[in-house]
């Protein structure tokens, strides 16, 4: 293609960069990672570190959930299904294979994740035939089907008696810390996967599906396969989260393994932080996951945190309908645009000029000369 005759522009002005400076982004990332790493060393109180473990489990689960629901726009409200499968996998494997409750517990993580991921393939294959609202309803339904199975397949799951997991063999003085660090590591892997997906062609296909599935298909995106792969990847991480949760709690019960409030928790966290962004859901998990556990400890078994959920949801919808991260990003872009417009002091109001004119006229001349 002849590209030379269309370039009488001398300026190679790059479009204004809306991103935060790289040093700032990298620095704050390092800061957050460092803070998360030293957290249990600074706050050694087991009550606090247990809050940390829950935050890590949610961080892992939400980051995985976001790879599917955030990027594809298919809001799955049944991922407790995979959380439960991860928990039961962990419980069944430890009891069947008499796994000593040492560090071997954590070797089960990838296994439980793989089981959840494999289970996601046929489930996703069925669910992903429908779209949007129907999909949401069906995910909830399938989750409850698994809860019923867990109640009724007594010879496997123990039914409502639940299953017990062996008590970890390491010293009770630092009972929480191994769970915390394994959770942090797994969450980091989930976030790196999420980052990779977002940059990849696979992720581009997912984002296109979110925007307009039929159009994506007409451009050659294999929509069914793309959705299914993302669904399975998200199930792997949520299943792994279950396999941390089960030995940490020490028991598995159907109503807590397949728990609808876990589904809601994931959605609320993701919406709070910013659905479909890389770090938004992670931020939501850290904030809400910790808050939830804190309220639970403060006010006992009463479901105060459910009220807090409701309040938070209303507040977010009113104040930050896009979530924390996109809202801040939008403010930042506005500010950058404002600054860029006002430094040459043209006196143009910042919001009056974005879409008109200049590049257009330039192109017009080139079109005419062709």
């Amino acid at each position: 293609m002849s590209a030379t005759d269309v370039s009488n522009r001398t300026a190679t002005d790059s479009p204004a960069s809306y991103d935060l400076p790289r040093t700032v982004r990298f620095g704050s990332l390092l800061l957050v990672v460092a803070a998360l790493v030293v957290f249990p060393l600074v706050f050694t109180n087991p009550t606090i570190t247990s809050v940390g473990v829950f935050a890590m489990i949610y961080l892992l689960a939400v980051s995985g959930w976001n790879i599917f629901s955030g990027y594809s726009g298919y809001i799955a409200l049944g991922h407790a299904l995979f959380f439960g499968i991860g928990q039961y996998s962990s419980a069944m494997l430890t009891s069947r294979f008499k796994i000593p409750a040492g560090w071997d517990l954590f070797a089960l993580l990838p296994v439980a994740g793989a089981i959840a991921g494999l289970a996601a393939v046929p489930i996703g294959w069925m669910l992903l035939r429908v779209r949007k609202h129907t999909f949401i309803v069906l995910t909830i339904a399938v989750m409850f089907i698994f809860q019923l199975l867990a109640f009724n397949l007594r010879s496997w799951t123990g039914g409502s008696q639940g299953m017990q997991l062996p008590f970890p063999t390491w010293s009770g003085a630092y009972f929480n810390e191994p769970f915390y660090y394994i959770g942090l590591l797994a969450a980091a892997i989930a976030l790196v996967t999420s980052w990779w997906v977002r940059r990849s062609k696979f992720g581009l296909g997912l984002l296109a599906i979110r925007d307009d599935e039929d159009r994506a298909r007409s451009l050659g995106v294999r929509t069914t396969r793309t959705k299914l792969v993302a669904f399975a990847i998200s199930a792997v991480f949520v299943g792994a989260a279950g396999a941390i949760y089960a030995p940490f709690i020490g028991s598995v019960f159907p109503q807590f393994a397949f728990d609808p409030s876990f589904d809601l928790a994931l959605a609320v966290m993701a919406f709070t932080g910013g659905l479909g962004t890389l770090i938004g859901p992670a931020l939501g998990a850290l904030v809400i996951g910790s808050l939830q556990q804190y309220f639970l400890l403060q006010f006992g078994g009463a479901n105060v945190f459910l009220i807090v959920y409701g309040l938070l949801f209303v507040l977010i919808l009113r104040l930050l309908p896009q979530g924390i991260v996109p809202s801040i990003a939008a403010r930042w872009r506005q500010w950058v645009t404002y600054r860029a417009r006002n430094t040459p002091s043209t006196g143009v109001p910042p919001d009056s000029a974005p879409d008109v004119g200049r590049p257009f006229d330039v192109v017009l001349n080139q079109g005419g000369s062709a």
Binding site: V6, P15, A208, G220, D355, V356, L364, G367, G368, S369
Partner: protein, 258 residues
């Protein structure tokens, strides 16, 4: 280059195309005109594989495309720019353009084409990281063109490219269509703006009621007295035997809207 023979197609409630025979010459700009409901958009859907013809064949560069999937047709070098705004509004301009090359495996090729397209369409460079939905209608049309060229198509199919554009933007858009031709591509377009479309085109095709009524060079069609008659409310007679029986020779063809 592209040949349709006896194509009959519809959406289930009767046939929209009732036996279309059409040849698109290599290197031409072929413009299809006709009133609403003549089957112009349906014709393009058949070409790009979005609609499977009930009867008839579609041949492109010697190979049959009849009933092939849209992906297969994209791969064989036919890319369509849709009538309505067809960008992904929430994705960036860059992502939108890259999606045009989704079928290309080799990322080096994608990068090379991206560089070419950015060079050719300054608007793409200017707004690379902006939401596509924040662009004006004319700018979006340019990004759609850019996206279409990412597959380096040999046939570009445009469905009413001037729709919704102000005259200046339409003029610029036509400039890009000529550029496609001089880059060695063949263009098949449908236009409501008959004069502009036929002036641009090297070949014109007039459709009415699911059939091709007239073909010729763009200028021939424009100057054809039958065209004049046609837009004042009559049908175009293609069969001398029928033309003897009066202006409405074809019994099953509806009259032109007045």
């Amino acid at each position: 280059m592209l040949t349709l023979t006896g194509v009959v197609a519809g959406y289930g409630g009767g046939d929209i195309l009732r036996g279309v025979d059409l040849t698109v010459e290599e290197g031409s700009i072929t413009c299809v005109v006709g009133p609403n409901g003549a089957g112009k958009s349906t014709l393009l859907k058949v070409v790009s594989g979005l609609l499977r013809p009930r009867l008839g064949t579609v041949t492109f560069q010697g190979k049959s495309l009849t009933g092939k999937s849209p992906q297969h047709i994209l791969r064989s070098g036919i890319v369509q720019v849709m009538q309505s705004r067809s960008l992904f509004p929430d994705l960036s301009v860059r992502d939108n353009v890259e999606l045009g090359a989704f079928l290309v495996r080799d990322q080096a090729v994608v990068r090379k084409r991206m560089a070419e397209v950015v060079e050719q369409f300054p608007i793409v460079r200017e707004r690379l990281d902006d939401r596509a939905g924040s662009l004006s209608g004319g700018q979006q049309r340019m990004v759609e063109f850019a996206r279409a060229l990412m597959l380096d198509p040999s046939l570009v199919v445009l469905d009413e490219p001037s729709m919704g554009l102000e005259p200046k933007a339409a003029l610029m858009m036509y400039g890009y269509v000529r550029q496609m031709q001089s880059d060695g591509r063949t263009v098949l377009l449908v236009e409501q703006n008959v004069r502009a479309g036929l002036e641009l085109a090297s070949h014109g095709v007039v459709m009415e009621a699911g059939r091709v009524r007239l073909t010729g060079t763009g200028a021939e069609i424009l100057l054809n007295p039958q065209m004049r008659q046609l837009y004042l409310g009559g049908t175009v007679d293609i069969d001398p035997a029928l033309s003897a029986s009066g202006p409405r020779g074809d019994a099953d063809a509806p009259s032109w809207p007045a």
